[in-house]
Symmetry: C2
Subunit: 329 residues, 2 copies
């Protein structure tokens, strides 16, 4: 394992401290656990909280700020945060209008967020939730019953965050978050693994000629392993599965080409070049494209494509102001 | 070489196409060569043009837009663009107010930009230039006479770009660009090399226990190679050299923790955690911090630290509105 760190037991804490020191105008860290909240609490709106294991930076702390999240809870690398941690986050941002939890569909995350939500409700805080499950690669996998929640989660943060910022009710914010989930699909692949610091060993091994197709954001196995193909052929393969899942024909979409952490932007743009061409040929109209490291897997090399099928409400909320460390609009 | 590409001879062109297709609201590609300009030409202001070899994405195309560059010229990977290409860029954005070229100090870049500038002047376009040389690691190196121009260039784009956008004269924009150069210092290191697609071989080799200190953004050798140390020790070493070069004591600075392309954000935040502590202990006040992939070296793993010593004018221009694909303020 070759990493620029101080010690495997300090990774999560030093990372969160370094993030908060970089962005004090946006972020404040709670004293207990790795929970970040907005530097200045916004009153009079539904609060959004998300989180999960560390290792997906800038998710989720980077999305805390105006128009997106109110709190992000970070567990150990690739490990769900505890219910106590999540509860502290909920209590720190709780408003009379209630709290929406945005959960990626991993068994540990769902269980711990739900438990925290129940504890918060017992303390009189209205809590609702949505579970993101945008990965079309596999149903049921190593850590998940049903589809995994991956990069499409960032669209939920953006659009539900804008709805909350505009003063919508908890039911309305939950409804638009669910609408995003119903309309976003993602699939990814990787050519090089990542190493969880505490383990010290790569999560999987690939030869120089192989790629893993349909991989999850923790390096979980995908649909299959096969010889590395050209970028355009990989894009064709991923898009075919995404476009077969819901009907995008004639619709406007938001596209996210998400890097896994060690993928150069050069490659992400080469990928987008073909994604744009294929969508145009299939009569899918691109409304907005995001290219970059939005939901990473430490230093995995690979990418995912997300397509969000838009309507007028989602377009307006996607374009609404966001001012966070990792997402500005 | 394991990359997600189609062919080594298509890399630069497909990358630029993919960038322009991702951001049509910001960018337009000229028909001749890999030159991108603002989608809508801004009239009545000094035009800023920069560029260099490809492989440093999002530099420089990602910084074309309101408040930053008017044009970016991309050569082959790690290879200077030709004078003809640069001239086309200059002519596409030329204004009565003149054109400022922001050149990173590499022998090929300086020669080709200067030649293009002279050709443009012969066509009646007023052209001035600045040469960025922020790298304190080594004087004279593989591609450079004098210090290399590296990540600090992004501060020049931001601050000179804001000055131009505000309607300043060519002399004034050049003067503030030079002021940034006079006050910004950078030093980097790497733990894993990058591979230029056309070469197919890593630019250098390191064992699993080694790091290269003072490396350039093309993987050029730095000051020395030594056993990989802890993140905090590496930060101490780089900051010592930066802080010895000009006096930052009691001053406000902008900090950039720049990833080389394959460095996870997790590590960049761990690095910033100690940078912030060291600067606080030394009485250097951090005004703003940027953490991310701003000036990369394809998929090199490593980082650089840049410190820009600020005054009131630079603070105001750093905070001024910027709206580009890779930098929003």
């Amino acid at each position: 394992m070759k990493k620029i760190i101080n010690g495997v037991d300090q990774v999560e804490n030093e990372m969160i401290q370094g993030m908060v020191k970089a962005y004090p105008q946006y972020l404040r860290k709670l004293d207990c656990g790795n929970v970040v909240v907005r530097a200045e609490k916004k009153e009079g709106k539904v609060a959004l909280i998300s989180g999960g294991g560390s290792g997906h930076e800038p998710a989720h702390g980077g999305y805390v700020g105006e128009g997106m999240l109110d709190a992000a809870v970070a567990g150990a690398v690739f490990t769900s945060p505890t219910p106590d941690q999540i509860l502290e986050g909920i209590k720190a941002v709780a408003a009379d209008q209630g709290v929406l939890m945005v959960i990626k569909n991993y068994t540990g995350d769902v269980m711990n967020f739900e438990m925290a939500g129940e504890m918060a409700e017992m303390e009189g805080i209205p809590v609702k939730q949505v579970v993101v499950n945008d990965d079309v690669a596999v149903k049921d996998s190593l850590y998940t019953v049903g589809r995994r929640g991956v990069a499409g989660t960032v669209f939920v943060h953006k659009i539900a965050g804008a709805k909350a910022e505009a003063g919508a009710s908890l039911d309305e914010v939950q409804a638009v978050a669910q609408k995003v989930i119903d309309n976003v699909r993602t699939m990814g692949m990787a050519i090089k693994p990542c190493t969880v610091p505490a383990s010290g060993q790569p999560g999987f091994e690939l030869t120089d000629e192989e790629m893993e197709v349909g991989i999850g954001i923790h390096g979980e196995p995908g649909t299959h392993r096969e010889p590395l193909k050209k970028a355009d052929e990989i894009v064709d393969m991923l898009l075919e599965k995404i476009l077969a899942d819901i009907d995008y024909t004639g619709r406007e979409v938001a596209v996210m080409i998400n890097g896994s952490g060690a993928t150069p932007l050069m490659e992400l743009f080469i990928i987008n070049n073909h994604v744009a061409d294929v969508l145009a040929a299939k009569g899918v109209k691109v409304y907005k494209t995001l290219v970059g490291n939005y939901m990473t897997s430490i230093e995995m090399a690979g990418f995912s494509i997300s397509l969000l099928r838009l309507d007028d409400e989602m377009k307006e909320l996607l374009d609404a102001k966001a001012d966070t460390p990792a997402f500005k609009a």
